[in-house]
């Protein structure tokens, strides 16, 4: 692979304490190295900002629910097309782009890694096929286990070791990255009588378990298993007034162990259930600031088109009640639920303006950018293509003030947003968009530009308009290949699947097999995915020292 050298750029590499100094970045064989030969291609980045490629810790880009959402909105695709070129497949965009377009658009925005946040394990093959058709970026996915009936039975019977082994088995079987919990406990109520969990301490029907017990069990087990990323939790009561208390209880359940709370903006509401929400951003961020074991992504809402797609089926049903428009529900045997509702966030709507303001409050009150990172829960809070605009909101208080004026003023007035003057620095942006998510994910070779790191590099032309700047990097380098060269998409490149392979006692298969025979409709022996089904992949080592394998292509 040819060598590459980037000179004269101002480098923001917070993981290595480089803060805007002019430095040279050398690349060989897809990695950052100390130096390269004189014959290396040299990119003169004078007047430009150099960062590691962006890392999206939470998005929905591949799999059954994403594809249902794609199919659901032909009207959204026809307005936004992606013509093919000699190096690009054609596709369509909108809030749920086709797979190829998803990869290209992340890349042309300077992002080189993205994690699909919710996969029912029985559908993992589908996810892997879509990810193989998602070019340029590296990607992994989180496995929905938080409503898994087999695991609930083990918990009910107090079989802690089997529970841990079963989690590790599942991650191996489907090539996932970590455990995802979504509204734990709710599936059984939803599937039996279209109800939801309202209290994190209520019993989940006959399982004799509470959501809080389920959450604690997963946090403990994953901690013992040493996954690079802890359980990724979508808390109970998403979107409901007064839910911040549920969120606090969830974080406290970790008792100092690592935990990641997804799209925490949606879980930071005060007020009484059934009445208008209030901001509880202060209560939430105070807890996070004080507890270094917690990481979270914000799940900022951005005005315009979105689509709710979630394993939280009761939530989608509640949203359907407002407009009675298109609604998708999909119950997955023994594993998950799913709901999809097209949506649009509007400035004049009280709740939408409030959600927007709460997200920004969380960002602006956060004391540790490493642990509160950027997301829109794409496409739930808005498309990932809105990240540059969100960055501008954080970096430019004048722009923020102008935007606030356009909103429902009643909503804004109930928050502290207007009184916060803070502006994010370039370093902090580099943290919340790459270094922080990479660290939270346990991806040692991503999010930074130190020697040995993956050569995923983004070079932006410095521009006072931060939206413009972050919207169109001048160069994007993936694994040492210049994919975007002087703003032009020059060469196609296929990224890797990132997954873990934790060890387990295979005696657990003797317990799984009869359960599959009784309650699944596919054979146990046809469930696990073999390595030869994967496109290029990389095993990320667990913290227990289980070695990762070298990259395979």
């Amino acid at each position: 692979m040819p060598e590459l050298r980037i000179i004269n750029g101002r480098v923001y590499d917070p993981a290595n304490d480089v803060d805007g100094e002019v430095a040279t970045i050398s690349i060989r064989d897809g990695r950052i190295v100390e130096s390269v030969s004189d014959s290396a291609r040299t990119i003169d980045a004078h007047g430009m900002v150099v960062m590691a490629g962006g890392v999206d810790i939470h998005c929905h880009i591949a799999g059954p629910k994403v594809n249902l959402a794609r199919k659901l909105q032909p009207e959204d695709h026809r307005l936004d097309v992606q013509p093919g070129t000699d190096v690009m497949r054609s596709g369509t965009g909108g809030v749920v782009p086709s797979t190829f377009t998803t990869g290209y658009r992340y890349a042309t925005m300077g992002y080189t890694t993205a994690m699909e946040a919710a996969v029912p394990p029985i559908f993992a093959r589908h996810v892997l096929e879509e990810l193989a058709d998602t070019p340029v970026i590296d990607k992994g996915f989180y496995v929905l286990l938080g409503n898994n009936v087999f695991l609930y039975q083990l918990l009910k019977e107090g079989r802690k070791k089997d529970f841990r082994d079963a989690i590790a088995w599942w991650l191996n079987a489907v090539k996932g990255y970590t455990v995802k919990l979504v509204n734990p406990g709710s599936d059984e109520l939803w599937k039996r009588r279209r109800e939801n969990i309202s209290d994190i301490n209520q019993k989940v029907d006959h399982f004799d378990l509470t959501p809080l017990q389920v959450i604690r069990s997963f946090i403990e087990a994953v901690d013992e298993l040493g996954f690079p990323h802890p359980p990724h939790i979508h808390c109970n009561n998403l979107g409901h007034s007064g839910n911040f208390d549920t969120t606090l209880q969830t974080m406290k359940a970790a008792e100092g162990r690592r935990v990641h709370i997804a799209h925490i903006q949606f879980h930071s509401y005060g007020g009484e259930a059934g009445t208008n929400p209030k901001s509880a951003a202060h209560q939430i961020i105070d807890y996070i600031n004080a507890n270094p074991n917690v990481t979270a992504d914000v799940g900022q809402v951005m005005f315009g088109k979105a689509i709710t797609m979630t394993a939280d089926a009761p939530l989608a049903w509640m949203l359907r009640g407002f407009k009675k428009g298109k609604w998708v529900n999909a119950d997955t045997e023994c594993e998950s639920g799913c709901g999809i509702i097209p949506f649009a966030y509007q400035e004049h709507v009280f709740t939408h303006a409030l959600q927007w303001a709460i997200g920004l409050e969380l960002f602006l009150l956060s004391e540790d950018p490493w642990r509160l990172v950027l997301s829109t829960d794409h496409p739930n809070g808005g498309s990932f293509l809105q990240y540059p605009r969100l960055i501008k909101l954080l970096m430019d208080s004048g722009f923020r003030r102008e935007e606030i004026k356009r909103l429902n003023q009643k909503a804004v007035a109930t928050t502290s947003l207007a009184s916060i003057e803070r502006e994010y620095t370039m370093r902090e942006i580099a943290i919340i968009t790459r270094a922080g998510p990479a660290r939270a994910l346990g991806l040692a070779n991503k999010g930074h530009l130190g020697v040995g790191a993956d050569a995923d590099v983004t070079i932006y032309t410095e521009d006072a308009d931060r939206e413009k700047m972050f919207n169109s990097p001048r160069y994007v380098i993936k694994d040492g290949t210049v994919v975007v060269d002087n703003h032009e998409f020059k060469v196609s490149h296929d990224g890797r699947l990132l997954h873990i392979a934790p060890g387990y006692d295979d005696a657990i298969e003797d317990a799984l097999r009869p359960f599959f025979d009784d309650y699944y409709t596919i054979r146990f022996d046809n469930y696990a995915i073999q390595d030869d089904f994967l496109h290029a992949h990389e095993v990320i080592p667990t913290r227990n020292g289980q070695a990762g394998e070298d990259k395979k292509d």
Binding site: R78, G84, D86, H126, R192, R194, T521, I522, R523
Partner: protein
């Protein structure tokens, strides 16, 4: 050692393949135990298979036919690939059609070819549940995997379908007889309702048979939906639909009071008057019922991997079928870009037909166009389409000779375990070779000719 191992006996002639997958219909049962005679290259026994599956496995033997024909004359695969690529590159509006009896791996390549040659891609969905796809875009869908039906459904309704003959194990493996988590006694714990215009061989399985007048499904569905939502209905419902008010009231009561209801619908709805309105009415009715009970609706899909085709075309283009790339990006418009239409209007000037036989099951006008234009066909057997094709490939049978992935009718992806090797290449191999040849031809052409003239 797990019981999935492929075993051979001492002579090495007989092999047992456990947990193999049958791809004949959309049920995609993955519990076949196949006995394979390796010398004869045939499957001698398919344990757990239904009558259709047994025929599928027994009849897919290796026939002695050329791997490729050009104009009816034997040709090498390389020559045929070259000719196929040339046809597709030279055509102004080449279409790709079929795909539902092929693996997802092959489908992905087929869509790539259509994209590269700026043609059209459509699957057999457009003539089976295409209208349900259109209805989905308008209404959404409340659905589930078949395991939820097995574990939970105590009310199972079939409308406009005849699984006893089209999907025999739909009853026995998934929806009626099996015991499930909350259905400890299997069929005894379920009420089965069949709605159809004629008393089909599926009727004996049902507890309640409702005979609707032909072409009146929409009216009947909309009436039920009105009753579910507490609206008044007119007295002429029986005259209009053939179904009495008492029968309707009883059905509505059962729907609202069940523990978990499912409405399976077939092509009796999509292929008759009303088409996507019928499917839309089913989807809207099922959605409304969730006010009272968990309720889902599912189209009963026909071909082994038609559901995979929907998924692949959707993730690559954003649309499920009837996609056109003439302008260099995907567009979707049923009636304009669907295969029956582009053929009946004589618009397509070349066709790549994969694993289906439009020359024997399309309307006559569409077939006339197929006879006129260069056709490239991939099929395991000789068909009317392969007989009229300019280039005809004989390919290996998916699931019997090839591995890969197929999606069951409920979108669950399932892996294939091949039983024995075929001397013929796979769809994926042929299509990949055509794609590579097309790419090479694209690189060769002079820059000025890079843009094809716009297609009609």
């Amino acid at each position: 050692m797990s019981d999935t191992e492929t075993r051979q006996d001492n002579e090495g002639d007989i092999k047992i393949v456990k947990n193999a997958t049958c791809t004949f219909c959309g049920c995609v049962c993955d519990d076949m135990d196949l006995t394979v005679d390796l010398k004869q290259k045939r499957i001698t026994k398919a344990k757990n298979a239904c009558v259709l599956g047994r025929a599928w496995f027994a009849e897919h033997t290796i026939e002695d036919r050329p791997a490729a024909l050009i104009d009816g004359r034997e040709a090498s695969v390389e020559e045929a690939v070259e000719e196929a690529a040339r046809i597709l590159m030279e055509a102004r509006f080449p279409i790709t059609y079929g795909l539902s009896d092929s693996t997802c791996e092959a489908q992905r390549v087929a869509v790539a070819i259509s994209d590269l040659v700026k043609g059209g891609v459509d699957t057999t969905t457009s003539v089976c549940h295409g209208p349900s796809g259109i209805a989905f875009q308008g209404v959404g869908e409340t659905t589930s995997t078949l395991g939820e039906v097995k574990n939970r459904a105590d009310l199972v309704i079939y409308w406009g379908g005849n699984p006893a003959e089209s999907h025999p194990r739909h009853f026995t493996r998934y929806a009626v007889t099996p015991k499930g988590m909350y259905i400890p006694n299997g069929k005894k714990d379920r009420t089965v309702v069949l709605v159809d215009v004629r008393k089909t061989p599926s009727a004996p399985v049902s507890d309640i048979f409702i005979q609707v007048k032909p072409g009146r499904d929409f009216e009947l569905l909309w009436t039920i939906r009105a009753l579910v939502n507490g609206k008044k209905i007119t007295a002429d419902v029986e005259e209009l639909t053939g179904v009495s008010r008492e029968t309707l009231d009883d059905l509505v009561t059962r729907m609202k009071n069940c523990s978990y209801g499912v409405l399976f619908f077939g092509m009796g709805l999509t292929m008759t008057r009303g088409r996507h309105f019928n499917s839309g009415a089913v989807l809207a009715l099922a959605a409304d019922l969730n006010q009272f009970a968990p309720f889902v609706a599912k189209p009963v899909r026909g071909h082994g991997n038609v559901t995979g085709a929907d998924n692949v075309v959707s993730w690559q283009t954003g649309y499920p079928f009837g996609v056109n790339f003439n302008r260099g990006f995907p567009r979707f418009n049923p009636g304009e870009f669907t295969t029956v239409d582009v053929l009946a209007r004589g618009e397509a000037d070349a066709a790549l037909v994969i694993a289906t036989d439009p020359a024997s099951n399309f309307p006559k006008k569409a077939i006339e166009t197929l006879r006129r234009i260069p056709v490239i066909s991939l099929d395991t057997k000789q068909t009317e389409t392969s007989r009229l094709a300019r280039v005809a490939f004989t390919v290996a049978t998916y699931g019997i000779n090839t591995g890969g992935t197929v999606y069951r009718m409920d979108d669950v992806p399932i892996t294939l375990r091949p039983a024995f090797e075929s001397p013929y290449p796979t769809d994926e191999e042929i299509l990949s070779a055509i794609r590579d040849k097309v790419l090479a031809l694209r690189r060769q052409r002079p820059a000025a000719a890079a843009e094809k003239p716009a297609a009609p």
